[in-house]
């Protein structure tokens, strides 16, 4: 096949206007006859007519006719070649928008649904009823708009929108009629009036509107008709192209947008929602040289888009509209549109007016399946307008269209205009402006250089967005982090708040702006550095842990905030909190120490800004054995808080709670009890503080003799938390764990077991299988099993708990370490001594490797190791461990010297060194007297223990004196 031998002239090909295919055919003449055009014309005809058409048209060129007929046959025989996939969601969506920005996307596709014959029934010159179609004004999402002549009751020109074929005419018209009453109430210069609706003889629905082109005041239909084309000045123009053609600067664009908002507000006031706001539905005309915006197409979207966009509708996507302008809730259910849906529409309009393109890239959207499209629109935040500019090649010309340089344009948009647009485009309607008037007001504030109401994206919101987007990849551990990150915003606010209280209401506009800027910076850090650098693509195969995120963020602080100490303090405080929450107390402590020094340098040593840092610092010292430091920090926090904040301010209450927390570790509980009284008023508070107070109260009661009080308090805390925050709230986990401990303290093992088994369902849902929380549940289960002497089951549960803890936290983590120790003990209890020894040894090795600040844990581990060795009959190593332990405890004057000497006594006895063992027990008693005082009941405990050890080891004579002493104390003691 050779077409080269014929005069193929592409330049001379017939140019046809889209959608007017029939009229093109007669234009074909022999002079510019070519194979391609003849073929293309022929293939559009019914199959039976093709051959005749070809032979007639190319009568003088039989070679051409033959070639075309050959192609036609090939087309039929091989119809599947390069066929398009059928039924792909957006595949055939009016995708010319794909490449156009700011241009009406919906070209009518002649391939569509065999509409050609129907389509051609109406066109310029067609008369139906009182309307005569004059010319095509434009093509829109739902159909073609004609200028039309109305003959009665008044002679005038109108805009008549002929809806696309394929719609259910009757329901469209009836829905439109239903709305018409409301539409008729609208009377605003910024709204094109809706005049009529009906259907053509061929059954296509149409809607009649005020002709916007007439708004220029030149109501001279005749001249326009005569001209054929209307004079440019009177012609309505799509708002974005108007702005660009006139090169309106940003300020004038905003003024125009405000007009749109006001018009929309009017419609909303009459109960009419537009539902399809986009540039092509906002036309601009000039009245005496002044630009006036007018919205068209009210009521149409509602009439044609009645309900849910189900899978069934995918075939009709072209009827539904343009996804890049649709609000998330519209994609889910087109019927749910309310005022705030239009606010979203305003957002897209503003976006495009400001930075020259739509929030979502149309090409991208159209390449997606319907499900992905939903997901993207629902979860992806489009870049801020100012940021979007950096991504556009024609950014420079976009700036020129706004009569500024690119740099200037970016700085004009950055900040407040970004925020206003972002607020309009919020995914959740309740986070948007609630009315169009509110948008107008904020835009007006920007014009007037007043601070706008919209603020930057908050950190916790950004974080939750990120999490939602990467739900499939980020593990549940991130969910824990998300809750913590809410604290980032919180910390920031508290610090500002503190600063403001001190400076007593000098919140000037510039101050507000600086703070907002800082919040923005923090958010960026969060999104870009903390999360952004962890690309799910990169970490695809493995899970991202909280630790990685925190590590990553901690490392980036110096370079990000090196020059901004104030912000650095906020960020570091939050990160230190994250470290603390995942059990990395030492990392947390180091970061807090650094932050405190920074804050003292910046604000002074008594500044209110220090309170949060001190509270966190104190908390990080838990489990590290530095109780007195912890207490001092908490006291200092409370002192500063009391000097700077009102009695019921949250900061002050948190400081109080921190101190109560620190006091738990005091041997004498008198001070702690005093704190209990101060906490009491909080218990009836209707907030989470009440829950905190109750939990702390139960903690403080841990040292009391009456353990029965704890469980009811925790049950109350649980009930309150469920009432305030719901059944699925993570804090319920914390409370249930504590409650289980309380049951265990009272030997209510079965209740504890039941509580944990019941709780496991929630924990499995809330937390990852290898999370700290999951290991806690196992631990409590193990404990309650051990209490019921189901030792083997308990040991197995401990092992599960340990495995999880090590995976979740790493071996050196405090929780993992504690678990390691308890697991060792559980195996010992279950009589599985080989395992017990190995675990206890490992625990001891880890603890002692962590340095002098880890003294308490090291000694606990040593004692445990020694005990397990004794149980296993490894007496010599046990003695060595005991001797080392005593030396270490004595050197540090630790309270553990009592227990260590008892261990030493037992070890000596086991090695047959009775006299030395006896002496060790005596020294243990003396150490106890020295440490807790002569009158403490704990002395009796030590005495009894010595008696038991010595008698069991076969030394009743040596044992006797301890028993005598104990009974003597019992008879005469002051207790």
């Amino acid at each position: 096949m050779r077409i080269g031998s014929f005069p193929v002239s592409l330049d001379e090909r017939v140019r046809c206007t889209d959608g007017q295919l029939q009229s093109c055919v007669p234009a074909m003449s022999a002079s510019n006859l070519n194979i391609k055009d003849l073929f293309a014309d022929a293939i559009e005809l019914p199959e039976a007519q093709r051959e005749t058409f070809v032979r007639d048209t190319a009568a003088k060129h039989p070679e051409i006719a033959a070639a075309v007929l050959g192609l036609l046959r090939a087309a039929i025989v091989n119809a599947d070649l390069l066929a398009e996939p059928r039924g792909t969601a957006l595949g055939k969506l009016n995708a010319s928008a794909a490449l156009a920005t700011g241009r009406e996307p919906d070209q009518l596709d002649p391939r569509m649904e065999g509409a050609d014959s129907l389509w051609s029934l109406e066109g310029p010159g067609t008369v139906f009823g009182k309307y005569t179609l004059l010319e095509v004004l434009g093509e829109g999402g739902f159909g073609v708009v004609y200028r039309a002549q109305q003959s009665e009751p008044v002679k005038r020109q109108v805009a008549l929108k002929l809806l696309k074929p394929g719609m259910d005419t009757r329901s469209v018209v009836s829905r439109f009629r239903a709305e018409q009453e409301a539409l008729a109430l609208m009377d605003h210069p910024g709204i094109a009036k809706v005049l009529d609706a009906g259907s053509t003889p061929s059954g296509r629905p149409f809607v009649v509107m005020e002709l916007v082109a007439q708004a220029a005041g030149k109501n001279d239909a005749a001249s326009e008709l005569a001209d054929g084309a209307s004079p440019a000045g009177t012609k309505a123009e799509v708002i974005t192209s108007y702005c660009n053609r006139k090169q309106l600067p940003v300020r004038q664009r905003i003024e125009l947008a405000i007009e749109v908002c006001r018009a929309l507000q009017h419609a909303h006031g009459k109960g009419v929602i537009h539902r399809d706001i986009k540039p092509s539905n906002v036309l601009v005309t000039e009245v005496d040289g002044v630009a006036r915006a007018k919205m068209i197409d009210f009521g149409i979207a509602k009439a044609v888009r009645p309900g849910t966009l189900s899978r069934v509708h995918t075939e009709q996507w072209q009827l539904i509209g343009t996804p890049e302008y649709m609000a998330p809730e519209q994609l889910d259910n087109a019927a749910t549109a309310d005022v705030r849906t239009d606010v979203y529409g305003l957002g897209t309009l503003l976006y495009e007016m400001l930075c020259g393109t739509t929030p979502f890239d149309p090409v991208m959207l159209r390449s997606l399946s319907l499900e992905r499209l939903h997901e993207v629109v629902r979860t992806n935040d489009p870049p801020r307008p100012s940021a979007r500019l950096s991504g556009l090649l024609d950014a420079d010309s976009i700036a020129i269209q706004r009569r500024v340089t690119l740099g200037t344009l970016k700085s004009q948009l950055r900040g407040e205009l970004d925020w206003i647009v972002q607020r309009c485009l919020a995914k959740e309607p309740q986070r948007r402006y609630q009315t169009a008037a509110a948008v107008a007001d904020d835009l007006q504030r920007w014009i007037d250089h007043r601070p706008v109401e919209a603020g930057p994206l908050t950190a916790s919101y950004a974080a939750s967005k990120w999490l939602r987007r990467h739900r499939g990849l980020a593990i549940a551990a991130l969910a824990v982090l998300a809750t913590l990150l809410a604290g980032l915003a919180g910390t920031g606010v508290a610090l500002y708040h503190a600063g403001r209280e001190r400076a007593s209401a000098v919140a000037s506009a510039s101050e507000a702006k600086r703070q907002a800027g800082r919040a923005e910076k923090v958010t960026r850090f969060l999104v870009d550095d903390m999360f952004g650098s962890l690309r799910p693509e990169v970490t695809r195969s493995r899970e991202i842990t909280v630790r990685e995120i925190a590590e990553n963020a901690t490392n980036r602080i110096p370079q990000q905030f090196g020059d901004d100490d104030q912000t650095r303090i906020i960020v570091q405080t939050t990160l230190a909190d994250v470290w603390l929450k995942i059990g990395e107390n030492q990392r947390s402590r180091d970061l807090y120490a650094d932050t405190l020094a920074l804050a003292e340098k910046l604000f002074g040593s008594d500044a209110p800004q220090l309170v949060e840092v001190l509270i966190g610092y104190a908390a990080s010292l838990e489990f590290t054995g530095q109780h007195s430091t912890q207490q001092n920090l908490a006291r200092r926090a409370l002192r500063i808080a009391e000097a700077n904040f009102a009695a019921n301010s949250p900061v002050r209450i948190r400081a109080l709670l921190a101190l109560a927390n620190a006091e738990r570790y005091m041997t004498d509980l008198a001070d702690a009890r005093a704190l209990l009284d101060r906490l009491s008023p909080l218990e009836n508070d209707q907030s989470e503080l009440a829950v905190s107070a109750l939990i702390l109260k139960s903690d403080l009661l841990r040292g009391s003799t009456d353990l029965s009080q704890r469980a009811p308090i925790l049950e109350q805390a649980l009930a309150k938390n469920v009432q305030l925050l719901g059944l699925d709230h993570p804090r319920n986990h914390e409370i249930r764990i504590k409650l289980a401990y309380a049951y265990l303290d009272q030997s209510r093992f079965q209740e504890a077991e039941r509580l944990m088994l019941e709780h496991k369902a929630l924990a499995d849902r809330l937390f990852a299988p290898d999370s700290v929380q999951a290991s806690e549940v196992q631990r409590l289960l193990a404990k309650s099993l051990a209490g019921q002497h189901r030792d083997a089951e308990a040991a197995a549960a401990y092992m599960r708990c340990l495995d999880i803890a090590i995976i979740a936290l790493g071996e050196t983590n405090i929780v993992a370490r504690t678990t390691l120790g308890t697991t060792a003990e559980a195996f010992a209890d279950a009589g599985m001594l080989t395992e017990a020894v190995a675990l206890a040894e490992r625990a001891q090795a880890i603890e002692s490797s962590l340095g002098p600040t880890n003294l308490d844990n090291t000694l606990t581990a040593s004692r445990r190791y020694g005990r397990v060795l004794l149980l296993a009959g490894q007496n010599a190593p046990a003695l060595q461990v005991a001797q080392d332990g005593v030396a270490l405890a004595e050197a540090n004057n630790s309270a553990f010297r009592i227990g260590m000497r008892r261990l030493l006594g037992d070890a000596l006895l086991a090695n047959g060194r009775a006299a030395e063992g006896d002496l060790a027990f005596t020294q243990a008693v003396l150490a106890a007297v020295d440490y807790v005082g002569e009158n403490s009941p704990r002395i009796n405990e030590v005495l009894t223990n010595a008696f038991q050890s010595l008698s069991r080891a076969g030394y009743p004579d040596r044992a006797a004196k301890y028993a005598t002493l104990a009974s003597f104390r019992a008879a005469t003691g002051p207790r």
Binding site: D18, G70, S96
Partner: protein, 197 residues
């Protein structure tokens, strides 16, 4: 930077860009081919749009530019190279002749099937022949077939009306079908097994 160079019209940048896009496509394609357990359908649309997303959507790192038309032209070329390279490297000793090209659709080419690879090569050769006859029609096919673009997008890119593209497309499909039939005479016989026609 590279993309900016192209935008700025620097000489030589064009082929470098092609290499860059090619590399992206190639690695994506390889991922697809090795990463998915069943089927090796290489959807041109999907891949090209993924590359598009990578190059354009990654706000911070990737170079930015907005000349989509140019991108897609380049992507179509790159996609073609990816597919042809792959097909050539995997092609069996003897080619086609079973009419398999008739079933090739825009949806994707199953690279696990030798007959699809053959079809791909046949079609590509035919497109090259079409180019000699009608350059624009060939461009339309490449943009549709290799870059997965819609008619409307192609129209925008070539600066002609949708209708013209639609006509080009219909013409090109028929032309290719005819050309392939002429070049594979055995195909005129009815297919032996599954209904390929």
């Amino acid at each position: 930077m590279l993309l900016r160079d192209v935008a700025a019209g620097k000489t030589g940048a064009d082929s470098e860009l092609l290499d860059a896009v090619y590399a992206q496509l190639h690695s994506l394609a390889r991922q697809k081919m090795t990463g998915e357990r069943t089927g090796h359908t290489l959807g041109a649309t999907g891949l090209v749009h993924e590359v598009y997303a990578k190059i354009f959507a990654a706000e911070s790192e990737a170079p930015q530019f907005n000349d989509r038309a140019h991108f897609f032209r380049t992507a179509a070329q790159a996609m073609r190279r990816v597919l042809i390279d792959y097909a050539r490297s995997r092609r069996g000793a003897k080619r086609g002749g079973d009419g398999s090209w008739k079933r090739v659709s825009l949806e994707g080419i199953d690279l696990a099937k030798p007959e699809d690879l053959d079809a791909l090569l046949s079609i590509d050769e035919a497109i090259c022949r079409l180019e000699a006859e009608d350059e624009r029609a060939a461009s339309v096919v490449r943009l549709r077939f290799y870059a997965g673009l819609e008619l409307e997008a192609v129209a925008e890119m070539l600066g002609v009306t949708v209708r013209s593209v639609s006509r080009d497309w219909a013409f090109a499909r028929a032309w290719l079908a005819k050309d392939l039939t002429d070049h594979n005479p055995s195909d005129d016989e009815p297919p032996k097994s599954s209904g390929g026609g």
